[in-house]
Subunit: 347 residues, 2 copies
């Protein structure tokens, strides 16, 4: 959303003004609510992002040993957190973070997406608001620069939840979203990865294909949670294959009654396990902590069923969980308690 950058700035200015106006004297300051009750930030703010999970070979990180990946994660994390800090919504925060990861050619979403069997990029994305369970998703997009923006437009400006293929492109045209030729998404690295797979010199699994997705979850100052996910899917995918990323309940789910989740991994297993909704259901119906619920699904059920990958999640209280059963997951988190980290392998 082009407004997601402007709006937080407006909010930030208002917050700054409010701070000045409510702090003229020591007496007024004493009478003011405690820090935990400040209107601008009454709760813990928190955001987590991921850039895919799987087997991450050291040499695949490049000559700098992963510095560029870490910088990309930090940039998305901080941009999303800045939205929250300025009083913006969790929806704007996750949209902002995912847009940056879509533009970053290192990650498999937007520019830098893996390529399908026919050599083109087909993009999927979804977003959900925990406040009112509104949701939007798109699959098979080929010319929309930011698929997450299109998913959000579907959520906010259409009567539908999920649009696909040429129809989704037509809707993007009606809404004036930025379009690019399909070539714009394609990087030499992804072209080489597809060529190796097509020539039988590499299994898709060895080409960071498990690193299929980027995503973000956040909770804002109102306690509203949101989740967003975007992906190019699997290298060499055929037959219009749809993975878990655009499936509400599987790759993305958010509900203020429990939590918000964005998933990444072997999509077929994540669909069959309805991963995102299952974690939230364990929280809501069994009263489990988010950490326990995520562990049960990711380290228990998914491992038993053979599904490699991971999730990021947040609850309305600001608890963050980053859980993965693969050797690595590109990830980051930041919250208003001062925590800020990015990681690739297990700590």
């Amino acid at each position: 959303m082009h407004t997601s950058v402007l709006r937080p700035l407006r909010h930030a200015a208002l917050v700054a003004m409010a701070s000045i106006m409510t702090m003229p004297t020591a007496a007024a300051a004493a009478a003011a609510p405690s820090a935990a009750e400040q209107p601008a930030s009454p709760r813990r703010l928190a955001i987590a992002i991921h850039g895919g999970a799987g087997v991450i070979a050291r040499e695949q990180l490049g000559a700098d040993g992963g510095v560029a990946y870490r910088q990309g994660l930090e940039a998305a994390l901080d941009a999303g957190y800045a939205v929250l800090e300025a009083g913006g919504s969790s929806l704007d925060a996750v949209t902002t973070a995912v847009r940056l990861l879509e533009d970053n050619p290192l990650f498999n979403a937007g520019r830098g997406a893996v390529l399908a069997h026919d050599g083109r990029a087909y993009l999927d994305a979804s977003i959900m608001s925990g406040k009112d369970l509104s949701a939007g998703a798109v699959t098979g997009v080929t010319t929309v620069r930011h698929p997450i923006d299109l998913a959000r437009r579907v959520m906010e400006d259409s009567p539908h939840v999920m649009l696909s293929g040429e129809g989704a492109e037509e809707f993007a045209g009606l809404k004036g979203l930025e379009r690019v030729p399909n070539d714009w998404f394609i990087t030499p690295t992804r072209r080489q990865q597809l060529d190796r797979v097509l020539q039988g010199r590499s299994a898709p699994r060895n080409e960071l294909q498990g690193l299929g997705t980027v995503g973000a979850v956040a909770v804002d100052s109102r306690g509203d949670v949101a989740a967003a996910t975007s992906t190019g899917g699997m290298t060499n995918k055929r037959w219009g294959r749809i993975g878990d990323a655009p499936i509400i309940g599987a790759g993305t789910y958010a509900n203020n009654a429990s939590c918000a989740v964005s998933a990444t991994g072997h999509g077929e297993y994540f669909i069959r396990s309805v991963v995102a909704h299952d974690i939230c259901a364990l929280v809501e119906y069994k009263g489990w902590s988010l950490a326990r619920a995520a562990k049960e699904v990711v380290q228990g059920k998914l491992v038993q069923r053979g599904g490699e990958g991971g999730i990021i999640a947040v609850d309305p209280q600001g608890h963050l969980v980053l859980e993965f059963n693969s050797p690595g997951m590109f990830r980051g988190l930041r919250d208003s308690s001062g925590r800020r980290m990015v990681g690739i392998y297990e700590d």
Copy 2:
């Protein structure tokens, strides 16, 4: 599946032979396990079907007052039940029932599907096995006579769960599924319904559009549950809209740990509520009966959120639930306790 008719017949013959062989004398009969423990039918067999939920105007049922609809439901119900009775799997039972409803031009799936904005039929279907959580789904199919067969092939003969559009058609071609021209699906009634909507003479809701789907759930003699759903979607749908029918977790879900569910109604609300999985989660995580869980989701959550429609569900013990919050739902159930009914309105 073309084997779903032959296989039950073979089983039926074996069952009949076994009955004769194990009952030669009164003594042997006394020593035999009770009826509830008979190997041929150790548990309760049960199947339920639906043909859509919504506002069903009496005049829309035709001059015979709905006899043709009831006959169509009975035929599908009995064919599916015959599979179970002959020792066949719940997967074969739901496939058999849904195939018949797809061929029946009265229901919005396969032949007789509602038409999209461009005047063509675009078909969605999904199927899931509660035994191993295997699943298959297709969306945007235009030439496959039985979309449910294609969903099942995706489940059994591909590494994927969900295929879409032209790619799904290509996969159907590779698997040799029966193809028809798109015109084959189109009935004069559906053409007139679309024309009325396009001319602004009728809102889609008044054209049985809420009656969007057919489906079946069943439990077999091994206690395995399965669910299947097939639809043409919404009249005048645009932009490649995908509803809940092909979404695992929303329109279809099956898990022996809880239940199997097939949904029908206003798809966008069903996706956002992850209806099928939510009912199963309430059963598994809260220990609720299937009836209570279905009521909570259909009469509670969906009504609060404005989502009209219904579900059919079965658990491994053979409990059947048919729950809808709309004025009517085409439906039927049959089980080995002797119950057999079809209905359109509330009883």
